[in-house]
């Protein structure tokens, strides 16, 4: 039995897989929030090049990977597939656990699978410069890497609290020649507005998005790039599952269970969609999206505050937006139950093609530690959700005495996320109650912060 399953470069997929061609029910068109009418390609042209917009709307099953993109992907692809033998032994499970290691990319995650493609298509369209937003920097660093490969300029608006406290990904962006500024910034009208109200503003993803888009719309030869949620992003990630299928086939295996963590849905879609195609055509498999209990988009929806009655006279009650039969009116009316998730992932979930499971923070870090201490690789914190799910399924296989084959996406390494491991290992992440004096301090801080009218 070999630890790793390689795929030769000549066997790397030459085309991406577009699940839209096989969906039992087509994806409803996205609606323009201003008019309620379907979005047309020209509405997106202000921020995306037409070649990517065509991919966004495409219903073709197979879309060729251009040679120039393939050449860049070959820097780290095909990624190795590992058999998690040490983890299996530790669990005493009869299950065979395989993981696709996307942490071997230059940026350390699956994100460059789409950043490279997006940089290429922008260059082909004559674009000279890209903008984007980033939280802690995973996407920003992936796009900076890709822009460097294709000679594009890039400006990344990084949420200020991350910019100040988590500098390593900013350093990666700058190493690849990108420009990274804290958001809100004085460089855009949106950023200046927030800084005028609060010069020490910590920033948010929403503000960073506004800044990156304003920059793209108002600058010459500049477009915007997004690393998750959109159809063309999920398309580019399909290379993960396509490779995995070939690798498993080469050793005579086929998965019973496919697992990926799901935030915006791109790495999950990458590993899962080529196998969901098989499921649509009759394969008896389970496909599981694992997500945090703190924001369980697929499993429970988001926490909302329910007034109990429309007159708003009853006490406020916090509860989830889906589950227990409760869906707040605006969410129900908008048909937008899984609003943080990629529409294609929401579609396959609604169609019953995938399941979703949620794990709390402590469970996921425990799983990540178990993985690091058996398989050696330190996973990114979001990857830990997939590992927690794989461990749960491997234990179930043991209880049931079944030799199941589990395939999991190891979406990225956690070398730049070590402070969160430090917090876990030092007990700071335990579920203990915040002391009264800390709450009092917090309430005082809030008094000093300007509130919206």
């Amino acid at each position: 039995m070999e630890k790793k399953v390689f795929l030769s470069e000549k066997d790397m997929p030459r085309a991406w897989y577009n699940i839209q061609a096989d969906l039992p029910h087509p994806l409803p068109p996205p609606l323009n929030p201003a008019t309620g009418e379907p979005i047309t390609p020209d509405m997106l042209e202000a921020i995306f090049p037409m070649n990517l917009i065509e991919q966004e709307m495409s219903l073709s099953r197979s879309i060729p990977i251009p040679d120039e993109v393939l050449e860049q992907l070959l820097l780290w692809r095909p990624t190795p597939m590992y058999r998690a033998t040490a983890l299996e032994k530790r669990l005493g499970t009869p299950a065979r656990i395989y993981y696709k290691n996307e942490g071997v990319s230059p940026a350390g995650s699956h994100k460059p699978n789409t950043s490279v493609a997006q940089a290429y298509y922008n260059k082909e369209a004559g674009i000279k410069r890209l903008t984007t937003e980033t939280g802690a920097g995973q996407w920003g660093s992936a796009l900076a890497f890709a822009c460097n490969r294709f000679g594009l300029e890039i400006k990344v608006y990084m949420v200020r609290v991350s910019f100040d406290q988590k500098p390593y990904r900013r350093m990666m962006m700058e190493t690849w020649g990108g420009t990274c500024v804290p958001s809100p910034s004085p460089d855009t009208s949106a950023g200046r507005g927030f800084l005028e109200a609060d010069p020490d503003h910590s920033g948010s993803l929403g503000i960073a998005i506004s800044e990156a888009i304003e920059d793209a719309v108002t600058s010459e030869n500049t477009k915007y790039s997004l690393g998750s949620v959109l159809n063309h992003v999920l398309l580019h990630q399909s290379v993960i599952g396509l490779e995995a299928r070939k690798q498993l086939e080469s050793i005579g295996e086929y998965p019973d269970i496919i697992i990926g963590c799901a935030g915006g849905g791109s790495n999950f879609a990458g590993i899962a969609f080529p196998f969901i195609r098989d499921k649509i055509h009759g394969k008896d498999i389970r496909v599981i999206a694992s997500e945090p209990t703190s924001c369980p988009t697929l499993t429970r929806g988001h926490y909302v505050y329910d007034f109990g009655d429309t007159a708003k006279t009853t006490p406020l009650l916090p509860m989830y937006s889906i589950g227990h039969g409760f869906i707040p009116a605006p969410i129900h009316a908008g048909g937008l139950r899984y609003h943080g998730m990629a529409p294609l992932v929401s579609r396959v979930f609604t169609d019953g093609l995938i399941e979703a499971k949620a794990y709390n923070q402590l469970e996921t870090f425990a799983a990540g530690i178990a993985f690091a201490r058996t398989e050696g690789f330190i996973p990114a914190p979001e990857t830990n959700h997939a590992i927690a799910c794989a461990i749960e399924e491997a234990k179930r296989a043991k209880e049931e005495g079944k030799e199941r084959v589990i395939l999991m996406n190891f979406s990225g390494h956690g070398i730049i996320d070590l402070p969160s491991y430090d917090a876990y290992l030092s007990g700071k992440l335990q579920d203990h109650v915040m002391p009264d004096e800390e709450i009092e301090k917090l309430l005082k801080e809030l008094d000093e912060y300007p509130k919206p009218k």
């Binding site: 996205p30 719309v217 997004l226 988001h302 708003k312 605006p330 937008l336 969160s420 917090l442």
Partner: protein
């Protein structure tokens, strides 16, 4: 006290979560902090019912909607 923010991908304190939506709390404040803080009590002490309704019970925007709104807003500024 800090926890790992799944949205930002870093350790964060609750003071950030309580003001991140343009001065209003993050939609995930309950889910993330419920084991550690009486979130409802803190929110009710510091925000009006209307503010909490806006923060938690309004129609959330999809990423594409947010992008299109930002495009419209940027074009107005041009």
């Amino acid at each position: 006290m800090e926890i790992y923010c799944p949205q930002l991908g870093m350790m964060i304190g609750i003071s950030y979560c309580l003001k991140v939506q343009e001065g209003l709390p993050c939609r995930n404040t309950f889910g993330c902090w419920k084991e550690r803080v009486d979130v409802a009590a803190v929110l009710k002490a510091k925000f009006t019912d209307e503010q909490l309704y806006r923060a938690f019970n309004t129609l959330p925007k999809s990423r594409l909607q947010k992008i299109l709104e930002s495009v419209r807003s940027a074009r107005r500024e041009e």
